[in-house]
């Protein structure tokens, strides 16, 4: 695969478009310019008109009654249909009985093309500017990995002419959907939690943006809307789930939801479908016949930072002894 195969520049998530530059700044040197003041950045009138007293005083997602939830869904549908000028559907599909999702990633196959990253951005309405990516692909020198994976050796900003590069090793990382998730443990408002099917979700309307979860997450999987998120109307995915890919407000945290809007309808996550080398696997951990169970039972699997005992449901494995 060459770089021209990719319709976009391969750039990793930075949680803010200035990050790459900012990392080169010296300590205390990076002084941002101040705008003219409070009045210079009033949101557009359209957005200001979206203010809804009922939305403002909405209860925590988990405390909504069926009727209240229904009303919320319709309100949100209307709000986003108006904002983006196309029919948006917002569901709140619940977990399926007897299903706990698990993810498998074949590190011997991954070529580092970041197709998954962009498929995820498209599917989940991540902000384009400032840029937010839920998946971060790290590139390692193969030699370095021989000593064991030390994340400090990884480079998320690689920009090769083509992939895979000789002598490199790629490790994509996103939310690992831990069974004992430190993020939901520390959240002061109960705005993030684990669903019965194992998906760790965020109630974007309940999150206050304190970022304690980001301090706690061992995988850097959580991303904050530092600025006003921005998705062009023509690129918006109108098939939404209320605790999945609905556009996020500024000042809240977001992350991978295993494509809850797809997987709860029995479809694969967008990244699984997008992967050109079939390195990404997904399935029901409770189903002994599932592909993910086969991989776990027959391949050499590992989880990142197992010593933290957060019990991730994202398993890395070596699918073949010969890499690529």
């Amino acid at each position: 695969m060459t770089a021209s195969d990719r319709d976009r520049e391969a750039k990793p998530s930075t949680g803010g478009s200035e990050s790459a530059d900012a990392s080169r700044r010296g300590f205390l040197k990076g002084a941002a310019t101040i705008g003219v003041g409070a009045l210079s950045g009033v949101p557009t009138a359209a957005k200001a008109l979206e203010f809804d007293i009922e939305d403002f005083f909405r209860k925590n997602f988990r405390e909504l009654s069926d009727e209240e939830l229904e009303a919320v869904l319709r309100r949100v549908e209307e709000k986003y249909s108006n904002r983006y000028g196309k029919q948006v559907t917002v569901s709140a599909n619940g977990p399926m009985e007897g299903v706990v999702f698990g993810y498998g990633l074949d590190v011997s196959r991954c070529v580092g093309c970041r197709q998954c990253v962009y498929a995820c951005v498209d599917e989940n309405n991540q902000s384009r500017d400032p840029e937010i990516h839920w998946i971060r692909v790290l590139e390692f020198e193969r030699e370095a990995v021989l000593r064991g994976i030390n994340l400090e050796d990884g480079n998320p900003y690689y920009e090769p002419d083509q992939v895979p590069q000789e002598g490199k090793f790629y490790l994509p990382v996103a939310c690992q959907h831990c069974e004992d998730s430190p993020c939901s443990q520390v959240c002061p408002t109960g705005a993030t939690w684990q669903e019965p099917d194992g998906i760790v979700v965020i109630d974007y309307d309940w999150c206050i943006g304190c970022r304690y979860c980001m301090a706690a997450c061992p995988y850097g999987a959580r991303h904050f809307n530092w600025g006003e998120p921005n998705v062009p109307a023509e690129e918006i995915n109108p098939n939404m789930h209320i605790i999945g890919n609905t556009p996020r407000p500024r000042g809240v945290v977001e992350k991978c939801t295993f494509c809850i809007q797809r997987t709860r309808e029995g479809r694969y996550p967008a990244c699984v479908e997008a992967c050109p080398v079939g390195a990404r696997k997904f399935g029901n951990l409770l189903d002994p016949e599932s592909e993910i169970r086969y991989l776990m039972e027959n391949k050499r699997t590992f989880v990142l930072k197992s010593e933290l005992e957060t019990k991730p449901k994202f398993f890395y494995f070596y699918g073949s002894s010969v890499t690529r």
Partner: protein, 416 residues
């Protein structure tokens, strides 16, 4: 009913006291208001554009604001530390200045709360934390604990100072049966707020720099340095401008306390440094960043060594009797101790804790000008609040502002 009437007079008198002053006083207030105005403009900018006006990013998602918060919780806690010797051991000279410690606590907690508020992405939804209206994740989230103890501590200190001042105003002796239990309660609370704040960081198992048992003891030890050091400097200032008698003995006592506190603080730091660098595990990456920088980013190391130098210099001044007996040197020692701890416990805790980030990236965070201005505004609000409270307190102590049915307004208040 009589008390309500008196209290209204007390409130009215307090307002009259704070609006009257000499040129220096007005100049000081004007300066503070100017800084507050700059802070408000900067916060308006942040409110309009989001926290993107800060230099925080996903890699370092807590910065200058939370650093100041952690530091100020220490100041709030340690200001009350003087209560222990004053009341438990009955050290006379200190007793008169305990009130200032309480006032400083009140101001520091207000600053703490403001720093947390400006750090959150959606402050308009802070009520999601409250019981009944919101869904506080208690007892799992340490942040809910912190909010609880900070508010409790605020209430305690606010009550004590108001009550003691009010009684002094009316010329009555405060009721020790009421005050003493609350003062004693404030001591474990003071340790409590700082321990819980340390737990906030220590509970994060994925960040080895914070996930260490010595963090809470280090927090307390460094707070015992920064709090009394600040109080010392405030006393010098108040003595000079506030025409308030604060005996030298009290100041030397604080110097003595600081010698112990700084020695313990540096000892704890030493145990940390030994554990990290003798073992050299991958977890040492954070300490390496702190002391030497990594991946070409060394700015933080300069600050770390600066803080270390400040703290050691302060210790030398506090320890050597000849140096300690010189008031100007002692004051310099307090400046060193305060600055050293401010760096060490603010950014020195926050930044290495998050650098390298969870996926190994080194992001060189330094606060943006906007962040610094917002922070300066909050410090100015704290200073303003403290100044006004001290103005009232010293007026009462001097007997200039006192309820009395007789015309003798100059008699010092008995109750204080």
């Amino acid at each position: 009913m009589e008390n309500v009437k008196l209290f209204l007079q007390f409130a009215k008198g307090s307002v009259l006291t704070v609006v009257r002053g000499n040129v220096t006083y007005y100049a000081w207030l004007g300066l503070l208001l100017l800084v507050i105005a700059a802070g408000l403009v900067a916060y308006g900018n942040q409110a309009a554009h989001g926290l993107i006006t800060s230099n925080m990013r996903d890699q370092v998602s807590w910065g200058f604001y939370i650093g100041n918060f952690a530091f100020l919780v220490g100041v709030a806690a340690a200001a009350v530390v003087l209560v222990v010797p004053a009341y438990v051991y009955n050290w006379g000279p200190l007793r008169e200045v305990v009130l200032f410690g309480e006032l400083l606590s009140v101001a520091a907690i207000v600053m703490c709360m403001l720093f947390v508020t400006v750090d959150v992405g959606r402050p308009e939804f802070i009520w999601h934390l409250m019981p009944v209206a919101g869904t506080p994740n208690f007892p799992h989230s340490l942040l809910t604990w912190d909010i609880l103890v900070l508010n409790g501590y605020f209430a305690i200190n606010w009550f004590i100072v108001t009550y003691i001042l009010f009684m002094a105003f009316t010329g009555r002796k405060y009721n020790p049966n009421l005050v003493m239990p609350i003062i004693f309660l404030s001591i474990p609370f003071a340790i409590g707020i700082h321990t819980v704040t340390a737990f906030l960081f220590m509970g994060v198992k994925s960040r080895p720099f914070w996930h260490t048992a010595i963090l809470a003891p280090r927090f307390i030890a460094s707070a015992f340095c920064s709090g009394p050091a600040l109080l010392f400097l405030i006393f010098l200032t108040v003595r000079r401008f506030g025409r308030l008698t604060i005996p030298d003995a009290a100041l030397y006592k604080i110097g003595e306390l600081l010698a112990y506190a700084m020695a313990v603080n540096l000892f704890f730091l030493g145990t940390e440094v030994f554990t990290e660098f003798y073992s050299q595990t991958s977890h040492t990456a954070h300490s390496r960043y702190q002391w030497f920088g990594s991946h070409g980013v060394t700015g933080i190391a300069v600050y770390t060594w600066l803080a270390f130098t400040c703290n050691v210099t302060a210790l030398v001044i506090f320890m050597v009797p000849i140096l300690r007996q010189s008031m100007p040197l002692l004051a310099a020692g307090c400046v060193f101790a305060f600055s050293g701890v401010f760096i060490e416990k603010g950014m020195g805790l926050l930044l290495p804790g998050q650098t390298p980030d969870m996926l190994g990236e080194v992001y060189a965070y330094g606060p943006s000008l906007n962040e610094v201005l917002v922070g300066a505004g909050i410090w100015a609000i704290g200073a303003l609040l403290f100044t006004l409270m001290v103005k009232v307190a010293s007026a009462i102590t001097r007997g200039e502002f006192r309820y009395s049915p007789t015309p003798d307004h100059r008699a010092p208040a008995r109750g204080f």
